[in-house]
Structure formats: structure tokens, C-alpha cells
Assembly symmetry: C2
DNA sequence: CCTTGAACCTCACGCGACGTGAGGTTGTAC
DNA sequence: GTACAACCTCACGTCGCGTGAGGTTCAAGG
């Protein structure tokens, strides 16, 4: 007698599947053992095992159990078409995974660069990223990323530390009613413009996207202390810079 | 009065979430609206909306709803650690996705190259791929792929068509009891070795892996008609080739 | 005041691929 | 006879909602 028929435990051990999984395949009709002992124990024949190996192959390719059932059921299926469809799905998922990794990686670097990571900072950073992805094109994001790399973490930290001071100074001038054309304000406005340029790199597309972002989402600027009134004051100061003394 | 409180429908419309999703967040305690009308309608305050925006941000990063709950619950969490853990998971998933895409792509190319795609051919191809991935290292697989590219689809088709003929001829000799050292067998054995060389490229690592595969999985060779007896005969013929006439 | 239709409410089942018990039977070795 | 492993069949839990069913409330028009 051939001792070829296997019981579930044996088959599970050999395939690495769980017994429950094999039971499940039986339940849904994907792999019903061809034989049973008198007492109801499952007996898998060589043919069953062959079918299982097919099932595992298709599973590896990411097909659902239902798809596998259908595929194995019909003999007339177009293998190429099936695989190409699956490939398309896999490519889409791959792109999403890549995006997710990029986002996380970028976030992690930001967090490493800026030490003080309160819960609020964290969430703000994420939201800033979301905004970025919403308002900048992928090419623009690449350019921004490249510029960040070129600047290095320390420079970025310095600039990020400088912004609040600059904003505070500017606000002080405004609240004291200083003339936007006055010398101290001109100096601050010049530095302001430099910092913005350092960010945009002078790329007009990025400048435009930045403008759109500020128009559509005023709360972003506001959270940094740049409320509409201040921004208007800065705008006037900028205009004075361009105009001759 | 501020009209700031939103009902579910409004909030759903603005966030792009479904009403059911918001109900779900309420059910699991992730986002419970701070207020209700006398009749029980949900009213989301500005604070609720802020929390929701945090939730959506973390969701974008691939956190589960439970993880989001925990993260938002504690104020002392280490943002960097959380993100790095998530990044690690994402990277692993990315690698898997990439592998899956490679497999599917390779399979699709094989199918496009070899026209006759019966269900059986298809499954055999998949299983061959599975075996390959099991017995060859990634570097070896790259080399094999490169060699395939270099050969071109037509050459591969020719070789794949030649193998069954070669195997059949060899079997004929064996069954007729021909001496492994005889001239016709020498010719067949020479061609056999050439075809194997075309595959392995003479790379000893690949030759070794191929041997291991044949030892561990005799049914692979058997399916192509190369049963142990035949293989032994071939082995003797090879030995005669190396030995002087 | 009444009606209509949109928007809201609360159950409660469904998916996909099993994991994880609970509680009982069978097979095998001593 | 008695352990103990391996098997059996329910049946609920997972995760993030979708999708009804069946009922109430709201806002506007007649």
C-alpha cells in the first residue's frame, strides 16, 4: 500500500500552512480532501497536494482565495491577462507604498533635525507635509527636497530658529507704527525676502504655489504668528524695497 | 452666535469621509462629538474638527485607528520613535511589494514570450519561479535574468523547444541499451552540456544551486521527462565525455 | 397646521483570511 | 486501561468601515 495520503497535521507541517487554514480552504471549497477516514479525518491525496501547490503559487502572486478558486476552476482562462491585471494592481500599490515611505522618511528627518518634538509640533509637521503635498507638484517637491539636502540640517535649523525672531521683530515694528519705508523695517524686509528666496530658490512655480497655499489656508501662516495684518505690513515693506528711496 | 458646530453630513462633505466612518469613529471612541442636539444629532465643535484633522494626518501615515487613539491620548509619546517604527514597517512592506511586482513582471514576460499558454503551462511556470526563488540567491537570479535578456526571446524559445527533443532522443538511446560511450550518445551528451552551460553561464554557484534543486525537488526534473534513471544515464555519458576515448 | 423630502438616528450583518479558543472524539503507545 | 497527541466541529474575533433596514427629526412650502 502506498502511504501517500496525508492527514491535515502532516500536510500543514510540510507546507507551512496552519491546520486552520487548511480547514478554511475546505470550508470555502477551495481544497476539499478527496478522502476521509471512517471517523471523518481528512485525507489528502497526491492530487490534492498538487492542487494545493497550485493554490500556494497563485497565493504568492497576491491573488485572493476567490480568484484562485475561479482560476483553477476554469481551464480556458487567459493566463497572461490575469497576470497583467494583477501586475497593474501591484504596481499601483507599489507606488502608494513608495509615497508612504517617502512621507515617513521625510517626517523622520524633520523630527531628527528639530529636537523639540512636543505632540503639537509633531502634528503640525504632519499637517504641513499634507499641505505641501496638496499645493506643490511632485516635481516641485523634489526640487524642495534637493535644496533641503544641499543646505544641510544645521542650516535648516538655523533658518527655522530665525523665522520666529524675524516675525517677532517685524511685528514689533508694526505695532509701534513704524513706517514700512524706514531703515529698520527695510532691513527686516530684506532678510525676510532672503529667507523666502532660500526656500523657493527663485523658482516662480514654487513661489506661485506658496502664494496659493497662503491664500487658501490662512491658518497655516497664522500658526506661525503671521496673521493677515502682519502679512499686509510686510507686503508694503517689500513694495518700499522695490521702489526707489 | 457662531455657527461653528457642524453636523455629520457637513463634516463628511468637507473631509471627504463617509458619514458611516464618522459614526464608526464615534463608536470606537476615537472622535466623539463634544455636543449633541436635544434630539441626539451629533454636533462637531471646532476642537473636534481639529482633532479630526490630526486623526486624518496620522491615518495618512498608515497608522491604525487604535494606534491613532493611543498616540493622541498620550501627550508624552516620542514622535520620532513612533514614526521610525512605522517607517520600518512601511519599508518592509515596500520590499515585499517590490518583490511581488518583480515576480509578476517576470511571469508576464515569460507568458508573452511563450505563446502556448495552457493552464498547466501557466502553473508550471509559476512553480518553476517559486523553485528558482527558493534555490537561487538574489544575485544569481539577477545574473540569470541578465543572461535571458541577452539571449533574446527567440533564442530562449528555440532552446526550450530543443530540450524535449533532446530528452526524448537520450531516452531512446537508453532504452535501446546503447553504450554511454558510443558516438550518438556522446553527441547528445555534448549538446546537453552546451544547453546547461547556456543556462548556468559556467557560474559555479549557479551550477551548484541547480544541482541542489534537482536533488531536493526531483519532481521538477521528472515533469520534464527527466526521471532519475535517465539522469543517471546522462551522468555516465558525461563521465565518458571527460574520459579519453 | 400639515406634508414632504432630506438629513439624521440606531441596530446589525457582511467582507477576507484566517486566529483562537471551547468542548468533544479518535488514534496510538505503553 | 489509560494517557496523550492529533483530529473533529462549532463559533466568535479581527479591521475599517459599506450597506441596508426601519424609525425620528429638521426645514421649507402649501
Amino acid at each position: 500500500m502506498q502511504h501517500t495520503e496525508l492527514k491535515v497535521g502532516e500536510l500543514a507541517r510540510r507546507t507551512g500552512l496552519s491546520i486552520r487554514a487548511l480547514h478554511h480552504y475546505d470550508e470555502i471549497g477551495l481544497l476539499k480532501p478527496s478522502a476521509h477516514t471512517a471517523s471523518g479525518h481528512r485525507l489528502y491525496t497526491a492530487a490534492d497536494i498538487a492542487r494545493l501547490s497550485h493554490i500556494l503559487s497563485l497565493k504568492q502572486l497576491g491573488f485572493s482565495l476567490e480568484e484562485i478558486s475561479e482560476t483553477l476552476g476554469r481551464a480556458d482562462f487567459s493566463a497572461l491577462r490575469v497576470v497583467e491585471l494583477r501586475l497593474q494592481r501591484a504596481r499601483e500599490q507599489l507606488a502608494e507604498q513608495r509615497q508612504l515611505c517617502d512621507r515617513l522618511d521625510s517626517l523622520a528627518r524633520q523630527l531628527r533635525a528639530a529636537e523639540p518634538v512636543s505632540a503639537d509640533d509633531f502634528l503640525q509637521t504632519i499637517e504641513a507635509m499634507t499641505m505641501f503635498e496638496k499645493y506643490y507638484t511632485p516635481e516641485q517637491l523634489k526640487e524642495l527636497e534637493a535644496r533641503r539636502q544641499a543646505m544641510g540640517d544645521e542650516n535648516i535649523k538655523q533658518v527655522e530658529a530665525e523665522w520666529p525672531r524675524l516675525i517677532a521683530s517685524m511685528r514689533e515694528q508694526m505695532e509701534q507704527g513704524a513706517d514700512p519705508a524706514s531703515e529698520p523695517v527695510r532691513a527686516l524686509a530684506t532678510r525676510w525676502r532672503e529667507l523666502v528666496r532660500a526656500f523657493t530658490g527663485g523658482n516662480p512655480g514654487i513661489e506661485k504655489s506658496l502664494q496659493t497655499l497662503h491664500q487658501q489656508e490662512p491658518q497655516v501662516a497664522q500658526r506661525q504668528g503671521r496673521d493677515p495684518k502682519l502679512m499686509e505690513y510686510v507686503g508694503r515693506a517689500m513694495a518700499c524695497l522695490d521702489a526707489p528711496k
